[in-house]
């Protein structure tokens, strides 16, 4: 059972978040679950029943002292961990720069991944380069792992003349086929059920590819979430389905969105191996995703993962969470900060220093600044230039049909 707080229980039950502004949230200080609690089953022999404890519990690798412990330790080389740390730092610095751009009118809108940087980065690093990424709006970090240029990303967010989606989508709605990063769309959850189809096509063609997708705790109420699990359960394609439970869907706390048990446990009813993992623990996320990749690669089909984390920032640049939750609630989240935790782990191991960290931060900051300046040479939201108005009419269909051509001529551009 989850500890669900309720506002009322009569005439019907309404859930409530742990606390509201002015109150203090007590998440219990530290996780009661420990890295040694859960064993790592063989991904090629595991049944969904074998993961019952994993779906109710919490897969961890980094303990409270920052040590890697237990069977889930992926035993990664320090170079890989430093690479992961760099991607996460890059994402955070990039996000900060984009928010500044939004505040100064150079972007219309922005969504940060603050506190959730490990999710897409660790998980994408655990995959193969041929695997498909089908993200929601809080997984842009996967693009860093796959090597997308920051200039290209910023040009998209601005919607300027170099935006590869030609100013048609809001910021953060990235598309990048070269990196097998499928287009993000605003309707929440639609990518989840589509990802099952992407994976079915890979299986049909006999390609060694996996598709990974994510949605949020709030979105898991949508039909698309359940379509995805049921179709994945029925056809068993190589798909990794993640519910990023960051506690909040704008102002809707997960206690308002479901009366169910853990999100991970839902997968068990579909006979899909299911794990609940500390989403701020880079190593645990990497390890569970690698497990799912190994299983899918062996032809054994889907894995369902609840990524247990906390949305540290607002939903978007249009949101003010201090209106509906304590402004400092994130400080009491037992998972802490994913970047700090990985950094501390590396320092503990003697593989990293504060000095190196500061130097890396400075280097990334300069790179982000340079990318931002270069991107703005192709236009910013305040002063343009924008893609030509003719792009309104193209790529609606493969070729422009007569009625759209007539309308284009009517606009006269």
């Amino acid at each position: 059972m989850t500890d669900r707080k309720t506002l009322i229980t009569s005439p019907y039950t309404l859930g409530a978040p742990p606390s509201r502004p002015g109150e203090t949230t007590d998440y219990g200080g530290k996780w009661k679950e420990q890295p040694e609690d859960l064993w790592r089953p063989d991904p090629t022999k595991c049944s969904s029943e074998d993961t019952i404890p994993h779906a109710a519990g919490l897969v961890r690798v980094l303990n409270d002292k920052g040590e890697a412990k237990g069977q889930w330790d992926p035993k990664l080389k320090s170079e890989i961990l430093i690479e992961g740390l760099e991607y996460m730092m890059r994402l955070r610095i990039f996000d900060d720069r984009m928010i500044k751009m939004q505040r100064t009118g150079k972007l219309s809108f922005y969504m940060r991944s603050l506190g959730e940087e490990a999710v897409a980065i660790a998980q994408t690093m655990a995959l193969q380069t041929q695997d498909w990424i089908f993200p929601s709006y809080r997984q842009p970090g996967a693009q860093f792992v796959r090597g997308r240029s920051m200039v290209s990303m910023i040009c998209h967010c601005i919607g300027n003349t170099e935006d590869n989606v030609k100013g048609r989508q809001m910021p953060v709605h990235y598309t990048w086929k070269e990196g097998r990063f499928i287009s993000i769309s605003s309707p929440v959850g639609t990518q989840f059920s589509q990802s099952v189809g992407v994976a079915m096509a890979s299986a049909y063609k006999g390609d060694d590819e996996v598709c990974i997708s994510w949605l949020g705790d709030g979105t898991s109420a949508q039909g698309d979430y359940h379509y995805a699990l049921n179709f994945a359960s029925t056809f068993k394609p190589p798909v990794i389905l993640n519910v990023v439970n960051n506690q909040w869907a704008i102002s809707t706390h997960k206690n308002l969105a479901t009366g169910g048990r853990t999100f991970a446990e839902r997968g068990l009813a579909y006979d899909i191996p299911s794990f609940r993992v500390d989403g701020n623990d880079f190593l645990a996320l990497y390890s569970v995703t690698k497990w799912a990749r190994d299983r899918a690669g062996a032809g054994l089909g889907p894995t369902h993962i609840e990524v247990y984390t906390y949305r540290t920032g607002p939903h978007s640049s249009s949101d003010d969470p201090s209106v509906y939750r304590p402004a400092n609630e994130f400080e009491s989240w037992p998972g802490g900060d994913p970047i700090d935790r990985l950094k501390q782990h590396l320092i503990n191991n003697g593989d990293w220093t504060d000095k190196k960290n500061a130097a890396l931060e400075k280097k990334i900051d300069a790179e982000v600044m340079a990318a931002y300046k270069e991107a703005c040479t192709f236009g910013d939201l305040a002063s343009g230039p924008y893609p030509p108005a003719s792009t309104i009419f193209t790529e609606v269909y493969e070729t422009v049909p007569w009625h759209i051509q007539e309308q284009r001529e009517e606009l006269g551009k």
């Binding site: 498909w132 089908f134 935006d163 590869n164 989606v165 030609k166 048609r168 989508q169 709605h173 598309t175 990048w176 086929k177 499928i182 287009s183 769309s185 309707p187 639609t190 059920s193 589509q194 990802s195 099952v196 189809g197 992407v198 994976a199 079915m200 096509a201 890979s202 049909y204 063609k205 598709c211 039909g223 698309d224 379509y227 995805a228 049921n230 179709f231 029925t234 193209t394 790529e395 609606v396 269909y397 493969e398 049909p401 007569w402 009625h403 759209i404």
Partner: protein
């Protein structure tokens, strides 16, 4: 050439495509082993394998979603929605995802898929086995919308729909699966004696965006699609007026030149569809025609349509446009 009803000709189109393109997969509710509730996919699983022709769970939203996902990853899916009335759980996937992916991704991705769905009334199907929701898709940029009317054009149009690199919503008038319908429910003709029941066994296609002139005439242009093509044909016969009958076949994008040239010739127009009148595709046709042909029109454009009510069960013959109502509208265009 073989004698085929529309079920057999659609089956033949699917069969030709499965033979021709290994990336074609066909799926939907009851369409695999059983061959579909209307038998359109009969025998395809046996002949082409269960990995290419398969049954899905009962979830239209999921069917549309996996079709999109497969098409993003190089396949060319043909999904069946068992009745057009049940397409709405898939509406978000179709309207927000399938229709927009090419545009929203700057052309990096596209969804070359076809959704086949039986539509229209005349089978005592009540509210939820009779609707004709074409205008709920013609209003969505990014989709092509096709409505076949006989065995010959069903095969040719479905072939083009599947081969199109754009997503196509393909409506099949279920009343006409086994024979044309001339508006008299007591007569059940078959396709055996109809020239459009002659269908080549081999591959052929009919271009989308091309209307078909069913009958040439001088006095009035009647535009229809689906079952209403045959009802209109009967109405024209009954009226004794020399009408030109156009089977629109593709609604988006519709065949501007054929329609405009015909109305410039006749100066009169009646549009017939089963769907409700308000915001039906006839409204779009009527507005477009007056924009393009106003100075050639000799009379107001008339629409004969289903009523703006839910589709009824036992009283469906009073709901669907009848030869009498259509003939009356044709006569009005001559008198005004």
């Amino acid at each position: 050439m073989a004698k085929m009803n529309m079920i057999a000709s659609l089956n033949s189109a699917l069969r030709c495509q499965l033979e021709k393109d290994p990336n074609i997969v066909i799926f939907g509710q009851d369409i695999g082993y059983f061959g579909g509730v209307f038998r359109v996919t009969d025998g395809l699983q046996k002949d082409f394998g269960a990995h290419r022709v398969f049954d899905t769970p009962l979830a239209e939203g999921g069917i549309a979603a996996i079709a999109m996902g497969m098409s993003l990853n190089g396949l060319r899916p043909v999904a069946e929605i068992q009745f057009a009335d049940y397409i709405f759980p898939a509406y978000d996937q179709i309207v927000n995802e399938i229709a927009k992916i090419r545009h929203r991704s700057g052309g990096e991705f596209s969804a070359p898929l076809t959704i086949r769905t039986p539509a229209g009334g005349g089978i005592k199907g009540g509210h939820h086995h009779s609707q004709s929701p074409e205008s709920q898709f013609t209003h969505t940029p990014g989709l092509k919308v096709v409505y076949c009317s006989n065995p010959y054009n069903a095969k040719g149009l479905l072939t083009s729909a599947i081969e199109s690199n754009d997503p196509v919503i393909f409506f099949e008038p279920k009343r006409c699966y086994r024979g044309p319908f001339y508006g008299d429910p007591h007569k059940v003709p078959t396709w055996k004696d109809h020239p459009d029941g002659e269908v080549p066994d081999d591959y052929y296609s009919i271009p989308l965006e091309q209307a078909r002139i069913v009958r040439q005439g001088e006095a009035c242009t009647v535009i229809a699609w689906g079952t209403m093509v045959h009802v209109s044909e009967q109405a024209i016969k009954n009226s004794g007026i020399d009408c030109e009958l156009i089977d629109l076949q593709t609604l988006v994008p519709w065949d501007r030149d054929t329609v405009v040239n015909s109305i410039k010739k006749t100066g009169r127009c009646v549009i017939v569809h089963e769907a409700p009148k308000t915001s039906g595709f006839g409204a779009e046709m009527s507005a477009s025609i007056q924009e393009r042909c106003f100075y050639h029109l000799e009379a107001p454009i008339h629409r004969v349509t289903g009523w703006d009510t839910p589709f009824p069960h036992t009283t469906e013959w009073d709901y669907m446009p009848s030869p009498e109502r259509i003939a009356e509208a044709i006569k009005k265009t001559q008198e005004e």
